[in-house]
């Protein structure tokens, strides 16, 4: 079940679930389930975002990005510099999504973009 914050964020995206492909719909269900269990699954989210701009590999943010953002924002806010480096793909994605869907400034997570992390082997 979605919280008020989930609903508020979901209302900010334009792309409707009906516009998604069969695989994207399945991935949407997957992330709605997994994000309800955070911090379990954070590693998988970071791995997924390694090669994707948005969670469902769409050209714009979807309800998956909006709801997952609402569920992980508090956790990201509490991360140490080392955790930010470890989960850099989530941090990059969060910074993008919170700006493109128009989260209010007071609700945004401040992202430190100056941290240097060792290059990853892809």
């Amino acid at each position: 079940s979605r919280t008020n914050r989930d609903q508020a964020n979901a209302a900010l995206v334009k792309l409707a679930p009906a516009d998604l492909t069969e695989i994207q719909s399945a991935e949407l269900n997957q992330w709605l389930t997994v994000s309800g269990r955070f911090p379990e699954g954070i590693e998988q989210l970071n791995e997924t975002l390694k090669t994707r701009t948005y969670i469902l590999e769409t050209h714009e943010a979807t309800v998956a990005d909006a709801v997952v953002l609402s569920r992980i924002a508090g956790t990201v806010k509490s991360w140490s510099n080392d955790e930010v480096k470890l989960n850099r793909h989530i941090v990059r994605w969060l910074d993008l999504v919170q700006n493109v869907i128009g989260i209010k400034d007071e609700d945004k997570v401040t992202v430190n973009k100056d941290l240097e992390a060792p290059r990853e082997i892809k």
């Binding site: 079940s1 695989i23 399945a26 991935e27 269900n29 997957q30 389930t33 309800g36």
Partner: protein, 194 residues
């Protein structure tokens, strides 16, 4: 080309449940799915194509069912993802709370009228399979209706055929995944009655 479904040898009751969900779904929905049982360090994964895969068992069941789910299905899935999941995650599976089993019975009854093998039913069955695997049918004894539903569902021919994959349902010692390969996996849990 068949989809490939990788399932681990389970090291916990939760993994037994997760395996049961996806294996039963692959058998029930008649999909062209090749089930591969990996070692205890692997994870559930449905490879759809070279760029796409699913790792969350409920999403895999929903994907394989190819059906639009009813509100009753979503209610069942919601209970499974919260109450049953947490119960299974505790490791030592306990008996179901009477209120939950009653609620499940009512919803399964409604789902059963239209689609007895719907995704919601398969997902709940998988979760209950884990409870029964560790506690026997006594795990469901709070509710006769739920016990009867479980017996009927597990007796369905396609479900039975899915549950023949024994390697995917016998819990092995967790240490076996990291120990020397010469160390045999130890079965700690008998198979549930089929």
């Amino acid at each position: 080309m068949p989809l490939e479904l990788l399932v681990p040898k389970p090291t916990s009751v939760l993994q037994v449940s997760q395996n049961a969900k996806v294996i039963v779904a692959s058998a029930v929905y008649g999909s062209d799915v090749k089930v591969v049982v990996g070692d205890a360090s692997s994870s559930i994964l449905l490879k759809i194509d070279s760029d796409h895969s699913l790792f969350e068992p409920n999403a895999i069941v929903e994907y394989l069912s190819k059906a639009k789910l009813t509100s009753h299905d979503w209610d069942l899935i919601s209970i499974e993802e919260t109450k049953l999941y947490n119960l299974l995650k505790q490791g030592e599976a306990k008996k179901l709370d009477q209120n939950i089993s009653q609620l499940l019975s009512e919803l399964l009854d409604k789902v059963g009228l239209k689609a007895p093998l719907s995704a919601g039913a398969v997902i709940v069955f998988g979760a209950l399979y884990g409870l029964v695997a560790t506690n026997g049918k006594g795990a469901l004894s709070q509710d006769l209706q739920l016990t009867l539903w479980y017996q009927k569902f597990s007796g369905e021919s396609r479900v039975k055929s899915g549950l023949k994959e024994t390697d995917a349902f016998v819990i092995v010692a967790a240490a076996a995944s990291t120990a020397s390969k010469a160390t045999p996996a130890v079965s700690t849990t008998p198979l549930p009655e089929r």
